[in-house]
Subunit: 372 residues, 2 copies
């Protein structure tokens, strides 16, 4: 062998677009206890007791089953989700969280020539995933009304369009009739990201059987209190599912994650109860903030509220939102502030916690209002 | 909105190379009980009892912690793996199985212009991952000696080279001095895939601190009896780790997978005992097949054996190997046959099971030898 002459330079060797990437910044996950965590839209309640029971069953006495690979296609979970949505199992794909599913969709449909579209504001991961793929992005702007910009989406040249429905971080929901109209006019694959749809009045799952250009993406994270287990899924026509199966990791979902999701899915009563509770807490908080504080707050179809804080002098804006964010941090209450977009910078996104957490939040807002 | 005129055609819309892909075919995972599974190199023993204990602890009474996102970087596990390998935590990346790590390396380094290299035969997932990326492959052939083709690797123009060490499916190990010589001569990033290195006499982890062009990839699947939990990792210089962090999924490893891996890593005595046991079973089986059956069997540094069956008439070849494979299937014993490459088609790859499983295998081979 002849000796290598040039010095190794990973920045030269790696793909230029990867070297330039900035990683997605997830919400803070404080490691010490005592925080009220209203920043990443986790469900404030524990999962169904059947989840812990099923996990203990799978682990058994000595964890012996863990030495074996999981089912590579999460076959039982595909069947169960098919049944739950009046679809065949071949309409279902299981991913390592919904983020995995979104990433695979970008890998199947997006290039520098074939754009991936999304609205602004919406889930800030989409452009990050497109950046990893070195693809082209196509952003469609909301206005402050947050009405669905249907014409712009339908007329866009994007090969795939990611529509967060209900939207994040605004919480605003869209009508299924609006989604259906889009499906009849848009020429690409419409990915309806229903991360929060369980808290909404409507969803688009019923359209999957009829529209081959629809892919509904969901997650067990929020709806089933399993953010820690990383299970997401897609509902779409079998051709789209077949593409995802070709680009996924062979064993992408662990045994225990499959077990947890299956057990959760079976306990519909428990989760229906949680959804009722979270909606009630959400709607009460919104009413209070509007009536008592005079804060504009979008009607929410999710498990969070997007509100525009107003200080005691009546001012709103980025500084006011940031001021409240910082004050709450000092009180060990975490919420989320998206400062970089004109439609979000004067708002805070606040996850719906337990009634007790929301009371503590309320008290602290009142303290801030007196002090600010 | 103007109505969509063309009919939706997912095959037209998806990226052409994705439409042409064939998915990786993992080894069979029979769902019914009663099989002796020697086809996917799982560890035949349960994980350390500390794993089940730690998982029960994390699940607690009601699984409440599962509602929270996992640590996005698997920070505790990075620190523990750094300590275990005399490296800082910033030399460690955690993936959703080693396959996730390999996939991310392809995404960082491989394009149609910048090839990813690998040996033939070796892990058949590499070209699949390169295909998903629409990248160029560069294959370096072994000859039947299975000696490391160092000149060809060092002289190759591949940006990244995947070297399975010890190799699969042959089980043949390489000297660390050979790896080090490669690192001094090859101009790209050398990924040393040490999936099976725990069963070998040497490994390359000690070179990571000194060679910025080395990335060692490992998994808890085989070494720690946790194939079901999907935890793999990379040891490399912080610049390479930083690239992987930019392209990974935000929350790529579940809470319970992090918990299981951390608990396993702490029980070094238990796993040292398993490795001794598996090596002893392996070496006994090889000796028997060579001495009693006259089967050529590569010396193995892994938890499987690559053996060339010879029928009662003394014949070897694809038909003989396939014949034994089929016969064992009828006896509910699964092994692996790679029929598509000249250097593998007359061989079977047989995972090292428990002593009892290996006895049953032995008896069945003897039956086949009489009947074939």
């Amino acid at each position: 062998m002849s000796s290598s002459e040039s010095k190794f330079d990973v920045q030269q060797l790696a793909l230029p677009h990867v070297v330039r990437l900035h990683a997605y910044a997830p919400g803070l996950q404080p490691s010490e206890p005592g925080w009220i965590k209203l920043n990443t839209n986790e469900n404030p309640y524990p999962p169904s007791p059947r989840v812990a029971e099923a996990l203990r069953g799978e682990i058994g006495k000595d964890g012996a089953s863990l030495r074996l690979y999981p089912n590579p296609k999460s076959a039982s979970l595909r069947e169960a989700l098919g049944r739950a949505n009046q679809l065949e199992a071949n309409h279902v794909f299981i991913g390592n969280g919904a983020d995995d599913v979104l990433n695979l969709l970008v890998r199947c449909f997006c290039t520098p020539a074939a754009a991936a579209g999304f609205t602004l504001p919406s889930y800030s991961l989409y452009p990050v995933l497109v950046g990893i793929q070195d693809g082209r992005t196509l952003a469609v702007e909301f206005d402050r009304s947050m009405r669905l910009p249907s014409e712009a989406i339908a007329g866009s040249a994007a090969s795939v369009f990611f529509l967060t429905s209900p939207n994040a971080p605004t919480g605003v929901g869209f009508r299924t009739t609006e989604i259906e109209a889009l499906l009849n006019h848009y020429q690409g694959l419409l990915v309806v990201d229903e991360t929060y749809a369980v808290f909404a009045e409507e969803n688009a799952a019923g359209l999957v059987a009829r529209y081959p250009n629809l892919c509904v993406v969901r997650t067990f994270s929020k709806s089933h209190c399993l953010a820690g287990m990383r299970v997401g899924y897609a509902l779409a026509n079998p051709e789209v599912i077949g593409l995802l199966d070709r680009v996924k990791d062979s064993y992408n979902v662990s045994r225990l994650s499959q077990t947890a999701a299956l057990a959760a899915l079976a306990d519909t009563d428990y989760y229906a109860g949680l959804v009722r509770k979270i909606r009630a807490t959400r709607d009460r908080a919104r009413q209070t903030w509007m009536d008592q504080f005079g804060w504009f707050t979008y009607p929410s179809q999710t498990n969070f509220l997007f509100t525009e804080p107003r200080d005691r002098t009546g001012r709103t804006g980025l500084d006011v939102a940031r001021g409240l964010y910082d004050f709450l941090c000092t009180q060990k209450i975490l919420v989320r502030h998206f400062g970089s977009h004109a439609l979000t910078s004067s708002f805070l996104r606040i996850s719906v916690g337990t009634d007790k957490e929301m009371s503590v939040l309320q008290e602290n807002i009142e303290v801030w209002l007196k002090s600010a």
